[in-house]
């Protein structure tokens, strides 16, 4: 039996691409999804398929569902944006945009794929350490915390057929964090007990584990992969 299809959203980014590589190595056929057409180059390099889609739109979700086939083994809801500002300065448009993309789009795709999951499939939501609260990220922390609750409910409704879990990283070395002022980044890394920024490989390895049969008894959970940041001062 083949490994089935693994769908990764936000796959044009550094983290999504690496997550895809890990799932391909585990024997899954990849379907890489992104709003950014660059996802087609990532897929070509991997020899896999890509869909360019806006998951906040019904036709974008439909395009992914159509391409997904009838044997979806893994869905990784990785697509996300940030629109940081203190709450007092945050526009309602920026709050709504982050919720729509990070949370509601993931809800739409996850639910639309329900008839397509194979027995034993795994949904993995990319949450964040910031789901516990983070200065300047009222929108982002809401979106990433929302994914946790959504996944907990699905884990119970879809058990034992489909498992649903979340990964909550802290800072990960991607173009998003590389764009931050170095002194700001250094200050944030200093608060991580592990003493370094997380790597895409750190996260990809955890996603591959949660997708694997070794994690078949894990559902409805959040795994904090944040170098200890969630418990540090």
């Amino acid at each position: 039996m083949s490994g089935g299809t693994a769908i990764v959203t936000g796959a044009a980014g550094g983290l999504g691409g690496r997550i895809g590589e890990g799932l391909a190595a585990a024997g899954h056929e990849l379907l890489l999804v992104d709003l950014d057409p660059a996802v087609e180059e990532v897929a070509a390099a991997e020899g896999t398929r890509a869909v360019v889609a806006d998951l906040t739109k019904a036709d974008g979700v439909a395009a992914v569902v159509a391409a997904a086939g009838e044997d979806v083994a893994v869905l990784v809801n990785n697509a996300g944006i940030t629109r940081d500002a203190r709450a007092t300065k945050m526009s309602e448009a920026d709050f709504a945009a982050v919720i729509e993309i990070n949370l509601v789009a993931a809800m739409r795709l996850t639910l639309a794929l329900e008839p397509h999951y194979r027995d034993g499939a795994a949904v993995i939501n990319m949450s964040s350490r910031a789901s516990l609260g983070n200065f300047g990220q009222a929108n982002y922390s809401a979106s990433k915390s929302g994914l946790v609750g959504f996944g907990r409910a699905l884990a119970q409704q879809w058990a034992p057929r489909v498992r649903v879990n979340a990964v909550a990283p802290s800072l990960v070395d991607t173009p998003m964090t590389q764009a931050m002022p170095p002194e700001v980044l250094a200050k944030m890394v200093a608060r991580i007990p592990a003493g370094r920024i997380g790597t895409p490989d750190d996260v990809a390895g955890i996603v591959a584990f949660l997708a694997s049969p070794q994690a078949s008894y894990i559902t409805g959970q959040v795994l904090f992969a944040c170098g200890g940041r969630s418990v540090a001062p």
């Binding site: 739409r108 639910l111 200065f135 915390s145 929302g146 609750g149 959504f150 907990r152 409910a153 699905l154």
Partner: protein, 137 residues
């Protein structure tokens, strides 16, 4: 405590807690972002006006025991409140989530009544027994 807070709120209407009770969205996915965005704007406005805020959710939604979309809303509000708590340290905002289950309405109301005199902020206040022995959301 409730008598005291009642007296305070009558004399100084400003400290009357703002209580946000999100409507159930059920399976209406289009309602999720507008509801959360409105919650953000309303909670912020109340905090900037100096009022303590209670966001009341169902403990069962925090654990995902009912509608997946309502679970998403409840936990999203918790994440938002925690961030408001962090950002509000200097201005002295007091904003919390209160979670009760079935039959806990009186306990929720009693907890809300303590807020005007309470220093708590950024907390998840779980009343009743629905969450005992369960994971902390």
């Amino acid at each position: 405590m409730s008598v005291l807070s009642g007296a305070v709120s009558e004399e100084q209407g400003k400290v009357e807690p703002f209580v946000l009770r999100p409507a159930a969205v059920g399976d209406d996915i289009d309602a999720v972002a507008p509801l959360l965005t409105a919650a953000f704007a309303e909670v912020r406005a109340a905090l900037e006006a100096g009022r303590p805020v209670a966001v009341v959710v169902d403990a069962r939604d925090l654990l995902g025991q009912r509608s997946p979309l309502d679970a998403g809303v409840a936990t999203a509000l918790l994440g938002m409140v925690r961030t408001f708590g962090i950002e509000g340290a200097k201005p002295g905002w007091r904003v919390n989530v209160i979670a009760g289950g079935e039959g806990d309405d009186d306990a929720v109301e009693a907890t809300i009544a303590t807020l005007p005199a309470s220093p708590l902020t950024g907390q998840l206040l779980q009343v009743g027994g629905a969450n005992l022995g369960k994971v902390v959301p």
